[in-house]
């Protein structure tokens, strides 16, 4: 290995990078856009207030108090539907997924229930809902909890059983803080894999690698310079992602040595994998297609966008054979939960994978002869 040669390659790669504006955009700006878009969506979900249409057919003091109590829960923004309107048609015409109907005679039914000692027939509020609507289940669940609270309150007795939450994390975290490490891992993976595949396939196709095979550069020099170049860009891109996350979402993430370790291992693993794909695939197009086929399952099944625990059990098992899973989990362990032992375990797994593909990449890469 010759550092002068490695350095010469890194300089050429960096110059090629910053002179190609579209590459700069996709490398630096694209992950930032992802963070801004998903961050905004998830910020909303963290403090979500649902729209709720209520039709009060009773029009009494009691029904008005019920509407007020639901509103006081601070989970709903209430819109009253006039009693004369057909509520079902209203929901269909206006694209509403849930209309709560307070029945006629609500107040008298309530009085009866309250004076009876032995209550057994609760008052039914009708929920008119659109089952095809996304997020309806959550909204209906929240409504049930709010109504349960009102029932409890009206009974005049303190609850027998209550639960009290204690966070397993040292601080209170929002979803964006779980999301940013995942985006860092994914952005570094895609850039490293595609960077290695596209650049090498293009240089091979154009004959640049053949020319390089007539110079003293070795396979190790070539791959190492590719890895270091991708690492420099990965660090730059990670810094930009973190700055945007801090500036826009005021995230609370721990920055420590593990971040550098995981970014480096992410680069090593996926540049090595890219080198293998470039060598195994005969054409540049098939190398890119193979990279796609590897990358997409990893993006969606490794816990980048949503927790692995949300997936069916067999997919959770599958996720654990994907290298990106260990980068995601490792980054979250070090940046969010500050669990250094977990970070070490994940680093060991991805480290072994990176070492294997890197050595394999060096072994099978051939700058010169191609079969005819």
């Amino acid at each position: 290995m010759n550092l002068r040669v490695v350095n010469a390659n890194i300089i050429v790669n960096i110059k090629s990078f910053y002179r190609e504006k579209t590459v700069v955009f996709f490398r630096i700006a694209f992950p930032v856009i992802l963070i801004l878009v998903f961050g905004t969506i998830f910020m909303e979900r963290d403090n979500e207030i649902f729209d709720l249409d209520i039709q009060d057919l009773s029009q009494t003091k009691s029904s008005a108090e019920l509407v007020k109590a639901i509103g006081l829960s601070e989970r709903f923004k209430i819109n009253l539907v006039a009693p004369a309107i057909n509520a079902k048609q209203f929901a269909k015409d206006n694209g509403r997924n849930l209309v709560l109907v307070i029945p006629k005679g609500f107040e008298s039914l309530l009085m009866q229930e309250m004076v009876q000692k032995d209550r057994h027939s609760p008052i039914i509020l009708t929920e008119l809902y659109d089952p095809s609507s996304f997020g309806l289940t959550t909204k209906m669940g929240v409504l049930k909890i709010v109504l349960a609270g009102i029932n409890q309150e009206m009974s005049g007795k303190p609850p027998f059983i209550v639960s009290k939450g204690t966070s397993i994390l040292k601080k209170k975290y929002r979803f964006i803080e779980f999301f940013v490490p995942g985006i860092i891992a994914m952005a570094v993976m895609t850039a490293s894999l595609f960077g290695a595949v596209n650049v090498n396939a293009e240089l091979r196709q154009k004959g640049v690698l053949r020319k390089l095979s007539t110079t003293p550069i070795t396979r190790t020099d070539w791959i190492l310079s590719n890895v270091l170049y991708q690492f420099i860009l990965a660090v730059l891109s990670t810094i930009v992602m973190l700055l945007v996350s801090y500036a826009v979402f005021n995230v609370s993430l721990a920055i420590n040595g593990w971040l550098v370790v995981f970014v480096a291992l992410d680069v090593f693993a996926f540049v090595g994998l890219g080198m293998i794909l470039t060598r195994v695939a005969k054409e540049a197009e098939s190398a890119a297609a193979a990279a796609d086929a590897l990358m997409f399952p990893m993006m969606f099944l490794s816990g980048t966008f949503f927790p692995v625990e949300m997936m069916p059990e067999f997919l959770q098992k599958f996720a654990k054979v994907l290298p990106l899973y260990y980068v995601n989990e490792g980054l979250r362990a070090s940046m969010v939960s500050l669990d250094h032992m977990a970070a070490l375990r994940h680093a060991a797994v991805i480290g072994v994978f990176a070492a294997v593909v890197f050595v394999l990449g060096i072994m099978i890469t051939n700058l010169g002869e191609e079969s005819k």
């Binding site: 020319k211 095979s213 010169g368 005819k372």
Partner: protein, 316 residues
């Protein structure tokens, strides 16, 4: 260990197979130090495979290649710093300028004092030093490729079809560069399918087809041994001349310009045919007597080989 030899390149029974395809078939030749050697052949002759084995890009199936006294399959790392290669269809990093490209390759060769400016002058790219590779024309790219092949001041330079795809002006510009290298005493191994190029630049020409070397020598030697005759062209000649030539047992041919061409072995035959035309009352407007050129030799040799191969294939 390097063996001191008068030859820069020694090729002995070199063969390269790709499955059933025999790309190079048992070729042998030598190239002396300081010599310009041209491997001339049609597309698919096996020239590139041969040169890529000699310049260490590919490995032979069998046979031995010695470059600067070293076996190319065993001493690649010792050979590479001493040779320069312009591969077929040379290409470089799109966004890197001419000067940066030369600096990059100089660093790869760990050269401490490459005369970048001198190389740029040699290939006449002084006005293009800050131009990115992708913005260069085909001719300029080839000239840069030649400069890249020279960054390590090599003893042997390999140029694989350096002018293919270039327009006539660009081709002449590259030839000027190669003539400059020749003057500097570099050993140059050139592959080409342009006769004019080989005739103009090479000390030795090897004609290759179907993976084999069919003839080898200086241009003069090749013409002498393969086309030792004179071509007499009688311009705007009438039909009487055609019949007179036939009667004299020559084989006249009409060309597309209405001229008659006759191949004659000696100058005496020229005198005899001119006397016979005068006596027979034949008329023509002009006369041209010339020796055949390399192109005629090439066509004659490669046509014969192709006919033999086709005949063999039919027969067996």
């Amino acid at each position: 260990m390097t063996k001191e030899t008068e030859y820069a390149i020694e090729v002995d029974k070199l063969t390269k197979r790709y499955g059933d395809l025999l790309a190079v078939n048992d070729i042998s030749f030598t190239v002396s130090k300081g010599e310009v050697f041209a491997l001339l052949g049609p597309n698919g002759a096996g020239k590139t495979t041969a040169v890529e084995i000699i310049d260490t890009i590919r490995k032979p199936t069998s046979g031995k290649v010695t470059l600067l006294g070293m076996d190319v399959t065993k001493k690649k790392h010792n050979i590479i710093p001493r040779i320069g290669v312009l591969p077929q269809g040379f290409s470089s990093f799109d966004r890197i300028t001419v000067k940066e490209t030369l600096q990059y390759y100089s660093r790869l060769f760990r050269c401490k004092s490459t005369d970048i400016r001198g190389l740029i002058d040699l290939v006449n790219l002084k006005d293009k030093t800050k131009e990115q590779y992708k913005n260069l024309s085909g001719g300029l790219k080839q000239r840069l490729g030649i400069a890249v092949a020279l960054v390590n001041d090599p003893e042997v330079v390999f140029l694989d079809e350096p002018t293919t795809g270039l327009d006539p002006r660009a081709r002449r510009e590259v030839w000027d560069v190669l003539k400059g290298l020749k003057k500097k005493g570099k050993t140059i191994f050139l592959t080409t399918h342009y006769m004019e190029e080989a005739e103009l630049l090479a000390d030795t020409v090897a004609i290759m087809a179907k993976g084999q070397i069919l003839a080898m020598g200086s241009t003069g030697e090749l013409i002498e041994s393969n086309a030792n005759y004179l071509v007499v062209t009688l311009k705007a000649a009438d039909d009487k001349i055609f019949r007179i030539a036939q009667k004299m047992d020559f084989a006249p041919v009409n060309d597309i310009h209405g001229n008659i061409q006759v191949r004659l072995a000696h100058m005496d035959d020229v005198r005899n045919i001119l006397n016979a035309i005068e006596e027979g009352g034949g008329s023509f407007n002009g006369l041209d007597v010339s020796k055949p050129n390399l192109e005629e030799v090439f066509l004659k040799i490669t046509d014969e080989t192709l006919r033999e191969v086709t005949g063999d294939e039919r027969g067996g």
